[in-house]
Structure formats: C-alpha cells, structure tokens
Symmetry: C2
C-alpha cells in the first residue's frame, strides 16, 4: 500500500506532538508596522505589491516560529486574492516557504466547479501543469500545495478530478461538510424525508468518496471540514465517518472550546486537525510582553498554550 496524504499528516502530527493547524490569514491592518514600513521603502512599487510583500514577510516570521511545533499550515487564499495577482504571488511564495520549512500545507481555497473546470483547479493546486508543445513543452508545478479545501455542492464529478491528482502526487482534499459559521444550517441542516440532515448525507458521500483511499494510518486522503462551533453535529459525524480526517475550524476566535473540539477526534487521539488563525497570528495583540516586534514569538507562545489546552481533553 502506498503512503498517502493522510499517512503523511498523521505522521507529522505524531512527530510534532500536536494536531494544530496554523491558519495563515494575514490582514494588512494587523501586520506589524515595521514590516509594512520595510515593504513601503521603495516608493516605485505599487501599493498592491508592497502589501503582498508585507504579508509574505509576516508569514515567514510566523512559519519560522511555529514550524517545529505544528504539522501543517493553512493559508486562506481570500486574504491573498484581495491584493490581486501580487497577492497570488505571495500565496505561492508562502506555500513554497512552508514546504521548505518542513510543513504540510492546506490551500484553503474552497474551490468547486463542473468536472472539466475542476480538473484545471486540481492540476493547478495539487498536480502538474503541461505548457506548450514540441520543443517548447514544459511540465511544471504551480501551487503545489499538499492539500486543498473543496466545496461539495456540485456533487462527485466536481470532486473526482481532485481525487485523481491526490492519487498521482500523494495529495489530499478536505471537503466542506458542516461549516463553522452562524448560517451554515441554511442548507447543511435541512432535514430530509427520512429525518436525516443534508450534512449527514454529505458526510456519507465524503466517507464513500474516500473508502478506497484509506492508507496505512487508517485514514483516507479525502478529509472533511467540520466546525468546532457545532459540537453535537461534530459528534454525530465522527461516529458516521471513522476513516475521515476532520479539519476543524472555529476554535478560539469563533467560539469553539477544547471540549467542543474533542468530539472531532477519534478515541485514538487522531482523526482531526484543529485550525487556529487569528488566535495565533495576531497573538501579539492579546498576549502580554510581546508587542509588534515580537509577533512571531507571540504566535509560538499561542501555539504552546493551545497545545496545552488541547492536551487537557485527552
């Protein structure tokens, strides 16, 4: 059996001693001013370029500070797209830098489309892209993330092209299931004629999409996004989907506690990755004794505190 993405993730969780994912969601207004000043020094640069350079610089500091204590980082692409193509440059550089520092990456892009279009996304984010023909032919990797979040609303044929790249390159996906936001129930909680909710059906679909993709670790490379803010639903899904790794947003800033998060794990203490974005990358604002200059140290401290918090639950 080949080692798949889930095996790599489980191995990294064990090696780093934590199931914490650091969300790299940099907001320009929260970037320490010494970083912004440096990015703005060259007045010839466009402001969007300066912004993109500032967030990449900020991310490098965070990555350096946490790379030995967390297995995985998750840059949320909206906070890069907001700077246009310059932002996507920063996104690519961030993924590369994280990989160089031994971290697994989740491209939080929630991509979705019909099959032929989903294939383009899958190749861009997880696979290889072939350019031109004959003597000009080049095969290249573009984003080369280890995994990507995807949206299931279009059904299986929009998911399949991602699974196909996962096979080829030991990559993974996390399919949106029960999301952490207030109105996630608008569609996800609709009740079917047999009393089952839409999210339960989607959970069964996800588990079935991954059924043939279970690795040595007992987990498949088809993961699911399950918010810590809905503990009852998380518990239900955990029971329904023993072989699926949950990517769990909603801890911290969004209100999810360690005991809420506990329900997302299997009894073996595996099966979930808990994301924290603002609580870690902006920790310098709330933790005492750091200040802007110490934003990276504050992030490390916040990870250590989260680690302790999560250890209490087992």
């Amino acid at each position: 059996m080949n080692r798949n993405f889930a095996d790599k993730l489980v191995e990294a969780v064990k090696a780093k001693g934590s199931a914490i994912c650091v969300g790299l969601d940099p907001r320009l207004e929260k970037i320490p001013s010494f970083i912004k000043k440096k990015a703005l020094v060259d007045g010839e640069k466009s402001p969007l370029r300066a912004a993109a350079e500032a967030i990449f610089e900020f991310n490098k500091g965070i990555i350096d500070a946490v790379c030995d204590i967390v297995p995985v980082v998750k840059p949320q692409i909206a906070f890069y797209e907001i700077f246009g193509w310059n932002g996507i440059w920063a996104y690519e550089e961030t993924l590369k830098y994280a990989k160089k520092k031994g971290l697994l990456t989740i491209a939080d892009a929630k991509r979705n489309d019909i099959g032929s279009t989903a294939e383009a996304y899958a190749k861009a984010y997880l696979g290889e892209v072939s350019l031109f023909e004959g003597e000009n032919e080049v095969i290249t990797r573009v984003f080369d993330a280890d995994s990507i979040t995807v949206n299931p609303y279009l059904g299986f044929d929009g998911i399949k092209p991602f699974i196909s790249e996962c096979h080829k390159y030991e990559k993974g996906i996390f399919v949106l299931l029960k999301t952490s936001n207030t109105s996630s129930g608008d569609i996800q909680d609709l009740e079917m004629k047999d009393g089952v909710a839409v999210y339960e059906i989607v959970g069964q679909l996800i588990e079935s999409w991954g059924a043939d993709e279970v690795g040595e670790s007992g987990y498949s490379f088809v993961g699911a996004v399950v918010g810590a803010t809905y503990p009852k639903q998380a518990a239900r899904l955990r029971a329904l989907m023993p072989n699926t790794i949950f990517l769990v947003p909603g801890y911290g800033a969004q209100g999810g506690s360690a005991s809420d998060v506990k329900l997302c794990f299997n009894k073996d203490g595996l099966g979930a990755i808990v994301n924290n974005s603002r609580g870690i990358i902006n920790a310098y604002e709330t933790l005492h004794g750091f200040g802007e200059e110490g934003y990276a140290d504050a992030a490390r401290e916040a990870v250590m505190k989260m680690k302790e918090d999560l250890l209490k639950i087992f």
Copy 2:
C-alpha cells in the same frame, strides 16, 4: 430607485439584441499557434508568463470580435489560476479589457467562505480595497468585475458581504443553484421531508436574498446559476423565482438545446443569460473556412449562429 446591476444587464441585453454570455475559458492547447509563438519569442520569459500572455492576447481577439453583439463575458478563473499569479494577471487584464470594450463582466469564481473571509473576496472582486494607513493610505479596485458567481453551501452569512458590495457599487452576484454537471443531483436533488428538493429550497433562499434588491427592470442583482441540461428543474425554478436572473450554462458543448434554454426565460423574453464557452471561443475548429488565424471571426460567426438559434425559441 437606483439603477442596479440587473437593470444594467437588461439594458445591455436589449442594446446588443442578445442574451448571450461568452465564456472566456481559454485552454492553452486550443490557443492558435501564431499567438503562442508570439508569446514565446522572448526566451527569457518564464513559460507560465508566456502562457498567461498568450491567453490574454487570445481573449483580446475574442472580445474585439464579439463586443458589439453580446452584453456580457464570463472568464472562468480556473483557466487562469492554472498559470498561478501570471494567470491572475491575465485575468485582471481580461476583465479590464472587456470593460473598456463596453462589456459587462461575470467573474466565474464560485467563491464561498464564512462571513469575514467572504468579505475579503467581495472587496477584491466587486468593491474597493483599502491599503495601509496615514500618508501611505491608498484605496484601490482590484478585479473590479461587474458580478461574480458564488456558492451557497455556507448559507446567508457567506453571501451577505457580496450583497453589501453590490449595493455600494451597482454590482451583482449569481448564486449556484441547479448546476449543469452530471452529478449536480448528489446534493441539489436530495428530497426533503415535504417532498421538496434541496435546489427548490435554495431557489427560495436566493429569491428571498434578492427580494429587497429588485430594480426598475423587475429583476434583482442576486442572480442564480441554472443549467440548461436540466430543463424540468429549470422550468420549476423559473416559476418559483420570477425576479431572479438566471445565468444558464450548459448550452452547446454540454448538451443543452435552445428549447431547453427557453424554459429559463420569462415570458417577456428576459430573465436569463445563456453562456457558451467552447462553442464560441474554439469555433475555428468546427466552423468551415476560418482556421486558426480566423479564430476571432469564427467566434463572431458562432455568436451570430447562436443568436439565430435562440431567436427561434420566441
């Protein structure tokens, strides 16, 4: 009452005499070789840059050829993201060029996320982005599309930030409803306890999200994506959602016919925009007498044929 995006779209449909949307989904392997050669002349350029320049050049030709006979174009961002940040550069340039040529634009990005993240997408695609503070403060538009496609799986709080930008800048959204692909029924057709399908509930949600946003034309700026490949469902949704403009993919290459498409229109001949991508931009491959060099003329001819085909239905 302010003129909203729907009013602008209806006005453009009337002015151009067609409800056709040209899908700008350029695939490098389909770009005429004279364009690729030109992009490759400078050997110093990275292959991804050359690819991005080739697709932008290709798009310019298409836009020039169709801008007086169609109201709107829809570049599908996956076919740009596949070239990384260079591709996003081409995406931005394509949107700008289309606007310059008097076309409305739909950023086909199917974005979706929790509220605070959706806000970043909404500002990037539809609104304005504020960068830095004090003497360095700059307010800029990034993608500045007229509208964007979005995915409803996260419910209203992921849609709201887009609606808020639509208000400010006379922009619009098209929410995925019943998509054109084979497995769209996996989730969209699930049957609720009262016998209603998920897509019908989502249709009601979309109509309600747009209820306060109806302009002079009688249509709201909250549109819906309804595939021509599911005529029965389209007819049902048309009846349910009188004030919603349908963006209709699936005509042509995906199998939808003019009579299927008819069901997406209201009796006044309005209320739908019919997209065609491959059938137009790659028409030089199928229409006689054009060849690669005449790809833009072939695209125009394909639009004229589609126009005739659609005229037959009324």
